[in-house]
Each structure stands twice: as C-alpha cells, then as structure tokens.
C-alpha cells in the first residue's frame, strides 16, 4: 500500500475525550500512523497529540508548503471543540468524515460571511468574479453545505447522515458542479485484546444503563414509565449531557419514580460511560432525533459487550437484529421496553455478551475501521490531490485580487500623477514576497 503523508485534524483536550472526533483519533491514529506519515493539527499550541507530532491548525499551510501532504483528513461535528476543523475544511480541500449533518452551532463570523458558493463557481470558471465584499452571502443552514463543498470524498459515521447528505446536500452541490463520493465509516470501538467478555457480578438486581437527552429525543417519556411498571428490583444509571441533570430529575418526578433507584450522571465522557456499562446488564440508547447522538457511547457499550437497545426508527435503525434489540416507537413503546428488560433478565448474560462482543470485534474494532479508512485514503489521494492543486490556483488568484483591492484603497481607481501604491507600497510588498 502506498505510504501517504496525511494532515490529520482533530481536537485535543486534557481529558482525552472532549468530543467524538478526539475519541476516534485516539483509537484510529495508532493504526494509521504506523503505515503512513501523519502530522496532527489541533486547536492548541502543544507540540504533540496522540503521541504524534502536532501543530496548531493555522500552521497547516506552512507545513504543506514545506513538504506537501497527500491528503487533508477532517472530522466534522457539531461541537465547540471542533469549530476549528469547520474553519479549515473551508480553506483546503480534503477527505471529510462527518459525525453530524446538522449544525446547531452557528459558529464564527467567518462562516456567516463565507462566499463558498461563489468560490465553487470560481473553482470551475476562471472568469467568475470574486464575491462583492459589501454583501453578506446567503447561507444555507443548518446542514453542512459549506463544510462539505470542498471535499471530493465525504464519509459519514451514521447511515442516515449519508442518506441526508445524498438527498439534500449533494444535490445542491451538484448544481454548482461539485461531485462527491460519499460513504459510511463507523465509529470504532477500542481494540479487543481477546475473545473474553466481561460479565458483571451476578445479583438479583437488574442494572440498567440509559444514555440520552432528558427531552423527547432521548425518549425519556417512554423509558421512565416503563421503569415505573417494573415489578423487579432494578437500579438505573442515566447519563445526560452537562446541564441536563435538572431536567432529568424533573422527568423522574413527573413520572413518579423513586429517585433512589435512578442515578443521574452529568457527563459526556466515553470513559465515564464505560464505567457505567461495565457494571450494567443492558444499555439503552433510544436516541430519535437529528441533533445529538448515541455515538460514541453506543460503541463503548459494544466494546464491553453490554447488550444494547435502540429504537427501530431512530439513529440505530441500521443495526442488525443480532447486534441490537430494537424497540418500536409509539403507543406500545413503554410496554415493549418493560417486556424487553424482563426478557433480558432471563437470558444467559455470558452468552449474550459474547454475541454483542463478536459483532463489535468484526465490525467496529479500531483495527477494522482503521484499515477501511486507510484503503479509502490511499484510493482517493490522487483525486484529492488534483482538487487541492486546482484550489490552490484559485487561492493565488485571490491573492492577486486582494492586492488589487489594496491598490484601489490606496490609490483609487482613477489615474493620478502620484500613485502612492506604486511609489510607496509596491516596493515593500515585493520585498515581503507578497506579490508572488
């Protein structure tokens, strides 16, 4: 396989699990960097990330100029930590792995004023003018139109995300002339070191893990009534995002449940979720909406072999029936949840965990996902390179246009006897190498 030089964009935090992109980088980079030359670009000035040489993302152009990368690899998600990736994927084309298709975070002013549609037109037509600076371009939100517009290859970590892209975004971009290859690349679990599965200590009490938003998207209005009807001993750990605890407690009170049986954990840490599911008999991931998501918590549940329950019509609808229990949303949802908990209680826990672990090993193991990504990058590096070259020539045209704007600001457009731009600024501009 051809060895690539890869610019890998990823957020990085002290905790190591601030968002899904960081989670994925931590699991995939050991494999990718073993066969390729990778430099990590982050939003920090730290010289190392994930055990690899790292730079601030604003130095990417200088690193690329020094020694060209074959491919820029971006992970895009709807999080503040990933804003910089969003910024940069509009600067240099690359392979995009989108964990979100909808963006609640409207982000920085730079996105609001992005003339990306005009830029795409210019990419194809040399005579197309630069956008009028005095007019704010129309923006299409909240989908990832701008963010995917420069990427010849767009991958998704959910199948519905890819479907959404195909039906809405791709059509729009194609009308501008941009064609894409899109595909699915799952979120990895950690690498399984053996075939052994972890089984929590056997007790009379059913231990239920529940991950989801406290509102309707997380289906708490169906899940909590199900718990209310349980006639067995149970304890439940409900993980909600930071700030969601108050609403979660309100829901528990609303449905008249015993507070002592449900522990609320406010966290977005996959490591914390792992502690929860390691000590649980079943994990509920009932996410139904377009905002928010189950990953990487679903994958963490798989990584410890915890049986998972998803909605048949939600974000986990593509999971095969031998890899997830499916609940049908609607009138009988609570009843189904209740019955399922009681059924799982009767099943052989070791056997069940072995089944879920096997699915994770075969499909989601970091080594499997990394290999798939590696093959994609190698296969598409030449076409990405062509787009990068062509984009760079547009950027250079932008430089000339900028200098023309500067000239008009200084000298005006009318010919005059003393041209301050030529007399005063031009020598300095040439000396600084800006005219090249």
């Amino acid at each position: 396989m051809k060895k690539l030089r890869i610019a890998w964009f990823s957020p990085v935090s002290d905790e190591g699990d601030s968002c899904i992109s960081e989670y994925c980088s931590e699991r995939l980079l050991p494999y990718i960097s073993s066969g390729h030359e990778v430099e990590v670009f982050t939003n920090s000035l730290r010289p190392e990330a994930f055990g690899i040489r790292a730079f601030h993302y604003l130095k990417a152009f200088a690193r690329h100029r020094e020694r060209a990368f074959d491919v820029f690899f971006y992970q895009l998600e709807d999080s503040i930590e990933s804003r910089f990736v969003r910024a940069h994927c509009g600067l240099v084309p690359g392979v995009l792995w989108a964990h979100d298709v909808f963006l609640r975070d409207l982000g920085a002013e730079g996105y609001h004023t992005s003339p990306w549609e005009q830029s795409i037109r210019q990419y194809y037509r040399r005579n197309e003018p630069f956008s009028d600076r005095s007019k704010a371009p129309h923006q299409l939100w909240p989908r990832i139109y701008r963010e995917s517009s420069l990427s010849p290859v767009v991958l998704f970590s959910s199948r519905w995300g890819e479907a959404e892209f195909q039906s809405m975004i791709s059509t729009r971009l194609e009308s501008l002339g941009r064609g894409h290859m899109s595909g699915f690349l799952p979120i990895p679990t950690g690498s399984a070191s053996s075939n052994n599965v972890w089984v929590p200590e056997n007790t009379d009490t059913m231990r239920i893990a529940y991950q989801g938003l406290p509102g309707m998207e997380g289906r708490s209005h169906k899940f909590l009534p199900a718990l209310k009807c349980l006639s067995i001993n149970y304890v439940c750990t409900w993980m909600v995002p930071f700030g969601g605890g108050v609403e979660a407690h309100a829901r528990i009170a609303e449905f008249g449940l015993d507070d002592s049986q449900i522990e609320i954990v406010e966290s977005t840490s996959p490591k914390r979720w792992q502690e929860v599911v390691e000590a649980s008999d079943v994990a509920f991931h009932l996410h139904a909406g377009v905002y928010g998501r189950m990953s990487p918590f679903l994958e963490v549940s798989y990584s410890v072999g915890c049986p998972v329950v998803v909605l048949a019509s939600g974000s986990g609808d593509d999971l095969p029936s031998d890899a997830a229990f499916h609940i049908h949303s609607g009138l009988f949802e609570s009843e189904e949840i209740k019955c399922l908990i009681l059924s799982i209680r009767e099943l052989d826990a070791t056997q069940l965990r072995r089944q879920f672990s096997r699915y994770a090993r075969q499909n989601l193991d970091a080594s499997v996902v990394a290999q798939e990504l590696e093959e994609l990058l190698v296969a598409h590096a030449p076409s990405v390179g062509l787009v990068m070259d062509r984009w760079e020539s547009l950027r250079k045209r932008g430089q000339q246009a900028l200098l023309q704007e500067v000239k008009e600001l200084v000298s005006g457009s009318e010919p005059i006897s003393f041209d301050p731009y030529t007399k005063a600024l031009d020598p300095a501009i040439k000396e600084l190498g800006w005219a090249r």
Binding site: A62, A87, L91, E109, G110, W116, Q399, L409
Partner: protein, 365 residues
C-alpha cells in the same frame, strides 16, 4: 546615550494598554538619559484589506536616519509597527494581528474562508515571521504572547512583563460594595459577563472606567443592562484620570477583568497592587499568569453564573476579599512590578546597542 524611537500604533479616540506601555517606556528611557521619542501611526483595520496596506506602509519606512538624525535603535511594540526597517530593531511584542491567529475562527475575527482572506492570512503570517525574525532582540509582554509567537511563527522571545504604569502610587482603602471594571469597552473584554452576573448579586454596583472603541459595543452592553433592569447599579465613568483611577481601585470590593485570551492585562496587576481580588475567567489567557483561584482572586468559568457566585461570596465574607487582596499586593511588592522591573526591561530592549558598540570598537581597532 542613545537615540531611540519607540514605535506604536494609535487607534484614534481610544486609549488602551499599548498606549500606556509606549508612553511609560519613553518616559523611563528619558529618565535614564536617552534621547527617546514615540512614533505612532494610525491603525485602521477596516476594511480588512487595510491590514496589508498598513503593514506595507510601515515596511516602507527606513528609520535608520530621520531628518538627518541617525536613529540608534527602534523598539517596535504591536502589529504592524514591527514591519518597520532598521538594522537594530528590538521588539517588545504587545500582540500580533489577533484576528489571523488566536482569534481566527471565533466571533472576534472577521477573517473568513474567502480566497482573498485566506491569502491575506498567509501573507501576514509569512510577513510576521520575516519581519519579527529579523529583529536584533525579541521579547514579549507575557508568556501568553511569547507562546503564540513560538507556536504560530516558530520564533523565540524573552518574556518581559511591563511594570505598573503608576509605579508605587497604588494604595488600599476600605472597600465599598462595588465591582470595578477598567479598560476599553469592547466585546472581547466581555463586560456582559459581569453585567448579567449582577442580576444574581443583590446590593453590588458595577463601575466601569474606560471608553468604547468598537462600533455597537456600547449599545450591546446597555441592552444587557436594560434587560435586567440594572440601570441604577451600573455606572459608566468614561475615561478617568490617574488620581481617580487609583481611588476607584482602592475603594472597590473586587476588580473584574475577564477578556477572552488576554495578552497581558495591566488591570490585573493594578488591582493586585491596590490590594483587591481579581475576578477572571478560565479562558482569559495572560491574566492567568498572575491570578490563582482563591489565592489572590477567583478564576471561574466564563459565565455570568460563575461570576455571580464569587461576587456573592465576597459580599458575604469581606475578610475573604481582604485576605485575597493582601496576597495579591504582597506578590506585586515582591515582584518588582512597581519600579525595579524597568531595569530588566530596558536592559533587554537596548541589548542590540551593545552589539553596535562592539562592531564600532572592532572597526576602530
């Protein structure tokens, strides 16, 4: 004795830390017998293409000889003054053009993904590396600024903290129930955090010393005040003179200073010199080089609630405010920030002159 030009940039009708720094540096140089003067050009970042114009304009100046006078040394401070040409150029870096570096991709930057903008970012980044790289001596006003220079441009610099502008004149008096905010009124200083916090803190007033230098900023803050019905508890004092400033510090309960990723922040040190706790945020950058949580102030999450919590704590426990303030004051007394610190600063900035002397001596020899 040397002839020295201190290079500054001037935002008309605004007065900030850089203006203070340039003026005090010139004063200290003259006090040491040098012939020193300030050379400032107006700074106008609008439209943004002007950044190129102004950098090139500074570059077009050869300051080695001005009006028949040989200039021995120039000391540049802030973008784009360090684009000036001189064989003996020191830089005491206040900050670079922040919108292309640490503020890029944030609400505080107007540089986007337009190929013209991206070209400008690359041109200025390359330009900075060249013109800062050619400096005979490089220093920065804080670790934060030095780390940015290292991280973005791969250039090392010595950290020289600017001593306090009013030297030993700071004093402490019994505190009155108001929080003081000092500095330019603009969005990046995040005055809205403390304004919104006041809604959760009964009995405390906010006094704001400084003027607005950003379009619509004042309107935004006034709206926040009206939203919470705080008109009677927030006072905008405008620009105040030194005596009034010292008195405002001395009588305050605490000083709020929580900009986003501040370069350095005189206000922090002035508050500490006045024996007052500083209220700052986890992402306030340079202020965190001096403020430690519950040691000489509070470092909280950048939310109104975070500031409200600590304001209430200070209101309920005035002795806590006093003890935090005293620890800050002790730090300043021991740090040499009041007076002695200037010797180190000037020794560093003037070091290229020693090189010049050595060359001259060698030539004579």
């Amino acid at each position: 004795m040397a002839r020295i030009l201190v290079l500054g940039v001037k935002v008309p009708f605004s007065h900030g830390g850089q203006d203070v720094l340039v003026a005090t540096l010139v004063r200290e140089l003259i006090a040491r017998g040098h012939e020193a003067d300030e050379l400032s050009l107006p700074y106008n970042p609008l439209p943004k293409q002007n950044l190129i114009t102004q950098a090139a304009l500074w570059r077009s100046y050869d300051l080695e000889n001005v009006c028949g006078k040989e200039i021995d040394l120039v000391i540049a401070t802030k973008f784009p003054s360090y684009y000036a040409r001189h064989p003996r150029k020191s830089v005491w870096l206040v900050h670079q053009q922040r919108s292309i570096y640490e503020l890029y991709g944030s609400q505080y930057s107007d540089i986007g993904d337009d190929p013209r903008d991206e070209s400008m970012r690359r041109m200025l980044t390359d330009g900075d590396r060249k013109v800062l790289g050619e400096c005979a001596y490089r220093s920065a006003i804080s670790k934060n600024v030095a780390e940015r220079l290292r991280g973005f441009n791969e250039l090392d610099s010595e950290v020289l903290y600017p001593p306090l502008p009013l030297g030993s004149r700071y004093y402490t008096e019994e505190s009155e129930p108001y929080i003081l905010s000092v500095g330019r009124i603009c969005r990046i200083k995040r005055l809205d955090l403390i304004i919104n916090a006041l809604a959760e803190v009964p009995g405390v007033h906010l006094k704001v010393a400084g003027v607005s230098d950003e379009p619509d900023a004042m309107e935004f803050f006034v709206n926040e005040i009206k939203k919470h019905g705080l008109e009677k508890r927030v006072t905008f004092l405008g620009r105040v003179d030194d005596e009034e400033l010292l008195s405002l510090y001395a009588r305050s309960l605490a000083v709020f200073y929580a900009p986003f990723d501040e370069d350095y922040g005189y206000v922090t040190l002035e508050a500490m010199a006045s024996g007052k706790p500083v209220l700052t945020a986890l992402d306030s950058g340079g202020t965190l080089e001096f403020v430690s949580d519950r040691e000489n102030g509070f470092v909280v999450e950048p939310t109104p609630h975070g500031f409200a919590r600590v304001c209430n704590e200070l209101m309920e426990d005035r002795t806590l405010a006093e003890s935090l303030g005293e620890r800050g004051k002790s730090f300043i007394d021991e740090s040499g920030m009041k007076k002695g610190g200037w010797n180190r600063v000037i020794e560093g900035l003037l070091s290229p002159l020693a090189l010049k002397e050595a060359v001259k001596t060698k030539a004579v020899g």
